[in-house]
Structures are given as C-alpha cells and as structure tokens.
C-alpha cells in the first residue's frame, strides 16, 4: 500500500471508466425524477440468498456513462426511473465480503452514525458508549437503542440494523410507488426485510423552509457534463475527494479497503475504487416555528439601521425575510446575500452568476454573516490565512449534496402573511391555509391508500457523498456548522440546522444586531439566562446512517464471489 506513488494515480476522471461509477455522483435528477424513495433493508442472513437478491437488483442500477433514458428501474418491470444502492459495513459482511476486508474500511464507516453521536451533536448515551468500549473494535452490535430522536411515533427511524439502502427515483408519484413496492417485494422474496421507505415530496428544488436548494455543488476534475454544476470560483476539486481510488486534494490516494496482492482469487483488487461514502440523515424541520420566530423578530427589528444608508426593511414580512436570509446566507430565491446584500433582487440570478461569489470583500460578515449556514458550510476564500490557503483547506472538505424534501411544503410568503396577520394563530390552522397542495396526479388515490408520504411533518432527507466521511460530512457538521466557536464567533452554532439554544449575531454598523428567542419560555429557577433567551431549535435529526456506494466491479465481486 505504502508503495503506491500518488503521482502515478490520476486526480481527474479524464480517461476513467465511468461505467464503474454509480450515476448519482453526477446526477441528482432534480428535474427529471422529482419523486424518490429511500428504501432501507435488512438483507437475508443467508449469504447465498443475499447474493441472489443483489444479482436481481444489479441489473437495474444506473451507471454513469451507462445506458441512457431507456434504462428501467423496477425489477423486471416497465417503469422509468433510477435505482442506486449503498451498503453499511454490516451489510457488506452479510453479503459475504471477507471480514478482513470489511475491517479495512474507515473506522467511522464501521462505527456507524450512532456511535459518532458526540461528533454529530446527537444525544449521547454515555453508559452505552462505555459498554461499547470493549466491543468497539468489532464495531458491530445489533442491539438497537431506541432513543427519543429515533422514536417512530415522531417520524424517527432507527437504522442500526440496516444493511442496505436503495435510492429509487421516478417521474411520478405513482411510478415511485410502483418501484418502491416492487423492491420491497423483491427483498421479501429472498427473506430479507424492508425496514422503512423514506418517501420524498415532489422535489421543487426548495428545502421545506422555502429556500432554493441544490444551488452550490462542487465539480469534479474531468467530470463529464460539468456544465450541469453552476460555476463558482475554485469549485473544481480532485476526484479523490468524492471517489476512492483517485488522488485527492492532499495529493494523496486515500486508503481504500483492498485485497492483499497475494490473495489467490482477488489479489490486489480494490473494493473501494470508484466507490464513495454516502451519509443519510433524516432532518425534521419545524417550518412553522421557523417563520413564526422570524415573523416576530421581523416586527422587532423592522426599520433598524444596519449600515450607512441601509436599514432592515420596515415592512415586517420583508424584515423577516431579511433576517432569515442573514441566518441562511442566501435569500429564499437562492441569491447570495453577497450578490444581493439588502434585498433579494427582482429574480433569481442566472446559473452562471448565482454561485459565482466569494467572501473576500466581506471579511467581517456585514453582507453575509460569518455564522450563516451557507458561509459556514463552505467558507470559500475566508477560512483564515491567505486566500490561497483558505481555498486549499476548504477544498479538502467539500461534500456533494443529494437530499430531497419530505412531507408538507409551504410557501413562506403565505406563511408569513398568516403569521403576521394573526398573532395567536395555531400551527394547525396555519398549516391548513398555507401548505402548498402538490398538484394532484393520476394514481394519487392508489398511493394515498398505501400510506404515502407523511403529511404532518416536513423536513429534509439529507444525503451527501464524499470519499471520507470524517473529512466530509462529519467535518462540515462538527467543525463548521455546529461549532459554537466557528471562525471566532462566540457560542453561536449554525442557527438554521444546528442545535438551537444560542443567540445569533448579525454584523451591522455601528454595532451588530443579536437575535434572541422572541418567545422565551418562562425562567426556571436554575436556568441560565443565555439558555432561556437562546433561539429555538428548528431542525431535529430523526435518524440516519453511513453507507458505502460500491462500484460495478465491487457489486460483481459481491454477487459472483
């Protein structure tokens, strides 16, 4: 391994065999397939049955550079769609992958999301952590630990027993259901178990709070059709950041699980190559709570001066938008507050402009707060030190996001109108008025009866891809987004997706604004004032997992042994 000369390994996809790579790496199918289901399964205990199941699934996997639109996704069916597949390390083992090779996977992939609770800010069960210490080397126990956040009655899902994730995409709700049912039937036929289908709502390229999503993505060196990624400065990263088997932004080839050269059958075969890691996280969003809070703050801060000649808008709804855009770093229409500092702009900027900005002109965050979600998640040229150094660091921590929304969707302007008109209106009453009814489609009756997507809650089925979960998702979540001391801010984690409980500063002249909870709970005797006035939590994790997305050759190895 150590004998690999990194220089001899490409950091570009130029000349790579794209048909080895699952298509999701290059395609989010945001418009082509607006409906999706993420199906989590336990594969059969019998490795032969598990392999037989995978053999049937294999034919439907969409590969990059593979067959085009005519590809079908349902086992033996006729429905247009896409299927991608990913495994936990436990799943790989059950499929008969040599345990010694499984042991060579990165430790966080083996440990799973649950045991990375402290890193991710999830509830930690210290006793359990202590009990696990002994067995952690093996990283695999099947005991599910139902904690509140994974409570099914709250929409939670517990994936600690999960072996595989099927990502299913379709053009209509009906098709999505057909594909989902077919895949459920298939796994049952082999005596595996479908655990849960996480169904998206119709993907409108907005996350449930109502902000445009899927704007900024990294491009990969040598990526085919790179034009699908809205261009930005220094946005093209080495292939090794998003795929195993290529040189990364450290100039190294990340360690990859592979067979010893002397292995009789698979000598030197790299199980990781052309594969990547996928993080799934179900993130419930309190959409009404979010806009209710910003409506109140909008009223409070409306008209306050923030810079020479500029104020928070006097109209409370516009003020609410202004403040929320400061928390996000973008306006709901997707425009950055760097490009449009004081108002959202008449319309969404064209693709070649919408992501083409840097933060260099704004070192103190007067246009885009340093603590805003988007600036944290990708600080671009402002991560400290000279610009070139900042880029170098940031390029080592990019992730490719492939999430979808679920549940009820709202139009934020309608929500705000209701919330501002009636102070005491209940969430239910608002929901009844302001939810966007997704256009009815043929076949809706059928899907309603099959217990279709959740219409009482909303959120994001967050998915991201990266060659290293510690460098990618975990780093962005822990060191940038949720870090209360990110880049010099004091005790303020990400307000949008973070844990809540802190105030939020918005740099301004002559002095900053600071948001606190407009409806604080009454003080409890031993409660800290900071905690009481801290902003509410708007996003509640509801479970998730770490998966490996294998190459075609690795799937073949699993199926054919």
């Amino acid at each position: 391994m150590s004998s690999i000369d990194p220089e001899a390994v490409p950091d570009t996809l130029d000349g790579a065999d794209l048909a080895q790579i699952q298509a999701l790496l290059f395609r989010g199918w945001a418009r082509k397939f607006r409906w999706s289901s993420f199906l989590f399964v336990e594969v059969p205990d019998d490795p032969d049955a598990a392999r037989a199941w995978l053999r049937d699934v294999r034919g439907d996997i969409a590969w990059a550079g593979g067959p085009g639109p005519e590809q079908l996704a349902v086992a033996g069916g006729q429905v247009p769609g896409r299927l991608q597949v990913a495994f936990t390390t436990k799943g790989l083992r059950k499929l008969g992958l040599d345990p010694q090779i499984v042991q060579r996977f990165p430790f966080e992939a083996k440990a799973g999301m649950e045991r990375r609770a402290r890193v991710l800010g999830d509830p930690v069960d210290d006793q359990r952590a202590a009990d696990d210490l002994e067995s952690l080397e093996q990283f695999e126990t099947n005991k599910p630990t139902p904690t509140d956040w994974k409570d099914q009655t709250r929409g939670g899902i517990d994936l600690s027993a999960c072996d595989a994730m099927l990502l299913l995409y379709a053009t209509t709700r009906k098709d999505r259901q057909a594909i989902d049912l077919a895949q459920r039937a298939l796994i049952k036929r082999f005596r595996g178990r479908p655990m849960a289908s996480e169904l998206s709502s119709r993907w409108l390229e907005r996350e449930p709070f109502g902000f445009a999503d899927g704007v900024s993505q990294p491009a990969i060196k040598g990526q085919p059709d790179a034009t699908t990624v809205p261009p930005s400065v220094n946005n093209t990263i080495a292939a090794g950041e998003l795929l195993l088997g290529y040189r990364n932004e450290y100039g190294q080839v990340p360690k990859s699980p592979q067979f010893d050269v002397g292995h009789p059958k698979h000598g030197g075969f790299d199980v990781g190559k052309n594969g990547t890691f996928l993080v799934f996280r179900k993130l419930e969003q309190d959409v009404i709570g979010f806009w209710r809070t910003f409506a109140k703050l909008g009223k409070r801060f409306a008209g306050q001066r923030v810079a020479e000649g500029h104020s928070v808008p006097t109209d409370p709804a516009a003020a609410a938008h202004w403040l929320a855009a400061r928390a996000m770093g973008r306006w709901t229409n997707g425009n950055s507050t760097m490009s449009c500092p004081f108002a959202p702009g008449e319309q969404r900027l064209p693709p070649e402009q919408i992501n083409a900005f840097t933060y260099g002109a704004d070192p103190h965050g007067l246009a885009c707060p340093i603590g805003s979600h988007v600036r944290r998640a990708n600080p671009r040229d402002q991560r400290g030190g000279p610009e070139s150094e900042s880029w170098k660091v940031v390029r080592r921590h990019r992730i490719l996001r492939r999430g979808r929304a679920y549940g009820r969707l709202f139009d934020p302007d309608q929500l705000l109108r209701k919330l501002l008109a009636e102070d005491t209106i209940t969430d239910d009453a608002i929901a009844a008025h302001a939810a966007i009814a997704s256009e009815p489609e043929a076949g809706d009756e059928a899907s309603a009866e099959a217990g279709d997507d959740d219409q009482t809650r909303s959120g994001l089925l967050f998915v991201c891809l990266q060659a290293s979960i510690t460098h990618g998702f975990e780093f962005v979540q822990q060191i940038w987004n949720n870090n209360p001391g990110f880049h010099g801010v004091f005790q303020e984690p990400d307000l949008v997706a973070g844990p809540g409980g802190s105030r939020f500063s918005i740099p301004a002249e002559p002095v900053r604004l600071r948001l606190d909870n407009p409806s604080p709970v009454p003080a409890a005797p031993d409660q800290d004032e900071d905690e009481r006035l801290g902003m509410p939590r708007f996003v509640i994790p509801r479970g998730g997992g770490y998966f490996f997305v294998p190459s075609r050759a690795t799937i073949d190895l699993l199926v054919d042994g």
Partner: protein, 466 residues
C-alpha cells in the same frame, strides 16, 4: 529590561518516576479516575472515596478540584506515562506527569498551590496523586515539597501559548467585560444606531465605568501589553541569530553539508510505520473527546536512536521555542490559531545502561480547540513543514525529505502515526471551557479598547469585535 508579560501563561512540567509496585500504581490509577469523573460530572466510579455533598451539587470525592487553582492556572493535566509501545526487553519505568499552564514564577506558583491546599476545606490533595512517586515528600513538609516539585520539573524544549503574556485573571476579566458590553448592546442598540462610532464607544466606556452588574473589582484594567522590554528582546534575538548566521555560516559550512548528507542518508534508510488501515479510531481516547470547546493531546514517541537525531531534534525545538517567544505571539503558530498551549518536553533516559539501549522520548502536550481531526488536519493543512521538522526525528514518522518535506503531507499516514502514539491523559482540566483561542484574543482586544480612547481609524475595527 523588565517585561511583565514574561511572567504570565507559562509552562510547568513535573515528572516523577513511580515506585515499581503494581498495587500502588493501580491505586493511583483509580484515584485519577475518580478525579476525572468528578471533573466531567460522570461520578459513576465504583470506588467512591470520601464522598462529599456540597449544597445541592453532585456528589464529589474529596481529592482534587483544579478549579481551586483557577486564578493562576489555565489548563492542567495528570498523565501516567507508560511504555506500551516500547520494546519488551527494554522497558522504561512509569512516570507521572503534571502539566500545568500557569502564571507567575514557578516557585511562587507552587507556594500559592501549597497555601491554597492547606486551607480548611480545600480539595487539592497532591499527596494522593504524587504519593505513588519515588521520594515524594508530603505537602505538609512545606518548603521541602516545593523544592521536590521544582527538582522534578522539566524544561520545555519549546513552548507556545495562544495568548502569551496574558494572566488568567485578565483572560477572565476580558471575558466579563465583553459579556457586559454584549448585554448593554442588546438593550440599547436602537438608541445607538443613530450615533457615530465615537459616540458609541464613549457610551460603552461610560457604561463600564458605572459599575454595571457582572464586573468584578479591577476588571477595568486590561492585560498589560508587550512593551519596550519585549521589543528589545525580540530585536536582540533576531540580531543575534542574524549575526551568528553571518559569522558562522562559512566556518560551519562543511559541517552543515556533512549534516545534510547524513540526514539524507538517514531519511532514506529510516523505517516509517506502514499500515493499510484507514485512520483508526482508538475507542478509549475518542470516548473522552469532544465534550467542551477544547480537547487535549498527550503524544509520546521515541527519538530516533543516536546523537545525530537527538542533536537535530534539539536544534529544531530551540528554533520553534524562539519563534514562539518573539514571532508567534499573536494567537497563531504557523497559521494555526486553535492552540491554547502546547509544549515539547524531552524525557531523558537517565538509566545507567549502555548508550545504545538508552531511549530518550519526546512528549508533546497540547490544549487545543475543536476536534482531534480538525486540529491534526490544521497541522497538515497549514504547518506540515514545521511539524515534519519536529517529528521526523522520531520513530515511525512517515518518510521525509530534507527534514521538512513530505512527512505530514501524507495526511492519513501522519494521523495514524499520531493516534498510535497518543497516550491517555487520566485527568485533564480546562479553565476556559467555553472560549476558543480566537474568542479569548478577541475578548482581550475588546477589553483593551474598551477602557481607553481609540483613534477614529481604529474604531470600526474595534466595533466589529463586539
């Protein structure tokens, strides 16, 4: 010339050999475990010793509460330095280390510790901790205790502080002043928005002088700034180094070339660690990480045998130490702004054995912000050269070139090497649980600017700090 900033935020490392008796070492381990549990609030230890309940607080065990040292201690830890990776036929005795980042002269500091420990109700039982060391005199022996501690203190070959020269009391005062200003701004922002920056600054000063709640006596006096004494020392050092280089460069050139030739030969023949695992987690180390803003690292490694590496090691550390004293005094070390305190100490092998069996070890203590991965990552991202210069002289380090090249560039191998040699710190205490280095330096700047008139051009820069 007197430079008051030399006497704050300093390094004390006390290291003493443990008696070779498993039972007393076990006892020490359980004492340290209890202290650890008390500090982290995890008081689940089975051997509750002398449990004490303080009004409404969790049950604590009356052994050691570093909080009692909070006035002049920034961070501290106790570590049992064992020799798990050492060769079985050449084991070194166990050593107990107390790492303290403190203010004042070490002698005064230890006397203060002693005075505080002898107050009734104090919970600073060094005897239970150091009692397992050879020749330890009880605290009751007074002067003899201080002397023994000083005798066992080791010089830091290199020491860095993220806020060098600022005493703990001023770190805390700066935090309080900043917090009072924050609250003031929250309550008065509306009326301030129509004022000029000068007026805003004046209002804040006036408010601070009105003895608002949240301040303590003396809080309006910020930490002393580096004065003439520092500047003189800085330039004297630079001139001295410059002169030495000019004078010695030519005469020493043959030696330098010879050194370089040897170095390149060694670099080619040294054996780096190899492993084909991806960075490995070390469950017991991970379990205690990521609880507060900071984390700690204690890292132990053998210096490569022989005089050549030993000599190179000391020269590199000397250079880093000088740079840390005069150059990296603004809260960053080679571009890394997340280190509160870091030090390198050599544990010399003083055994009476033949020289080729002698094993000098380099031990590194760091108190840093955020996660292990981000800290080590910053090293790789921003200071790989310096890092490699230090550790390329130690065993197993990834292959290097020219002392500073390659090495840590191989991020995964470097991190694996670092994790493999990290040792557990049985007790670790932070006196600034909520603040990063950036926060503290920002507080200090806010503090200094809040109590004096500022030039108009400095005002905007001060106001954005609030």
């Amino acid at each position: 010339m007197f430079d008051p900033t030399r006497y704050a935020s300093r390094a004390l490392t006390i290291a003493a050999e443990l008696v070779a008796d498993d039972e007393s070492v076990d006892r020490l381990r359980s004492v340290l475990q209890v202290i650890h549990d008390d500090l982290t609030g995890n008081n689940t230890s089975k051997q509750k010793q002398r449990p004490v309940v303080r009004e409404g607080q969790a049950v604590r065990n009356d052994i050691f509460l570093p909080g009692l040292l909070a006035d002049d201690t920034h961070f501290m830890r106790f570590v049992i330095v064992d020799d798990k990776l050492g060769p079985a036929d050449n084991q070194l005795p166990l050593v107990l280390v107390w790492e303290s980042n403190h203010d004042g002269d070490p002698d005064d500091y230890l006397r203060n510790v002693l005075a505080r420990a002898s107050q009734p109700d104090a919970v600073l039982d060094f005897d239970r901790v150091f009692g397992a060391c050879i020749g330890y005199p009880a605290m009751a022996s007074g002067d003899a205790w201080v002397e023994w501690m000083l005798e066992h203190s080791l010089r830091a070959e290199a020491f860095y502080s993220g806020y060098r020269g600022v005493p703990k009391t001023k770190v805390k005062a700066a935090g309080r002043v900043h917090e009072v200003i924050r609250t003031y701004l929250d309550e008065h922002r509306l009326s301030l928005t129509t004022r000029t920056p000068i007026e805003v600054h004046d209002e804040i000063r006036r408010h601070l002088e009105s003895t608002p709640a949240g301040l303590e006596p003396g809080d309006l006096e910020p930490a002393v700034e580096r004065g003439l004494g520092f500047t003189l020392r800085k330039w004297a050092t630079l001139v001295l180094i410059g002169a030495a280089v000019l004078l010695l460069a030519l005469p020493l050139l043959p030696l330098t070339l010879a050194w370089y030739a040897v170095l390149r030969r060694r670099e080619a023949s040294d054996k780096p660690d190899t492993s084909n695992r991806a960075v490995h987690g070390m469950p017991d180390l991970i379990a205690v990480e990521d609880r507060i803003v900071q984390n700690q690292l204690t890292h132990l490694v053998d210096i490569k045998p022989g005089y050549f590496r030993y000599f190179t090691q000391r020269v590199v550390l000397l250079a880093i130490d000088q740079l840390a004293r005069i150059w990296f005094v603004h809260g960053e070390l080679g571009g890394i702004s997340s280190i509160h305190f870091a030090r390198w100490v050599i544990l010399h092998d003083r055994r009476d054995v033949e020289s080729k069996r002698r094993r000098h070890r380099l031990i590194f203590f760091s108190n840093y912000d955020f996660s292990w991965d981000s800290y080590l990552g910053e090293f790789v991202d921003r200071a790989a050269g310096g890092l490699t210069a230090v550790w390329s002289n130690t065993v197993g380090y990834p292959r290097t070139k020219n002392l500073i090249h390659d090495g840590a560039d191989d991020e995964e191998t470097f991190k694996q090497w670092a994790r493999d040699r990290q040792i557990a710190s049985q007790v670790w205490w932070s006196g600034v649980r909520y603040s990063s280095v950036d926060n503290i330096n920002n507080d200090i700047a806010v503090h200094r600017g809040a109590v004096r008139a500022l030039e108009p051009e400095d005002l905007p820069r001060w106001l954005v700090r609030l």
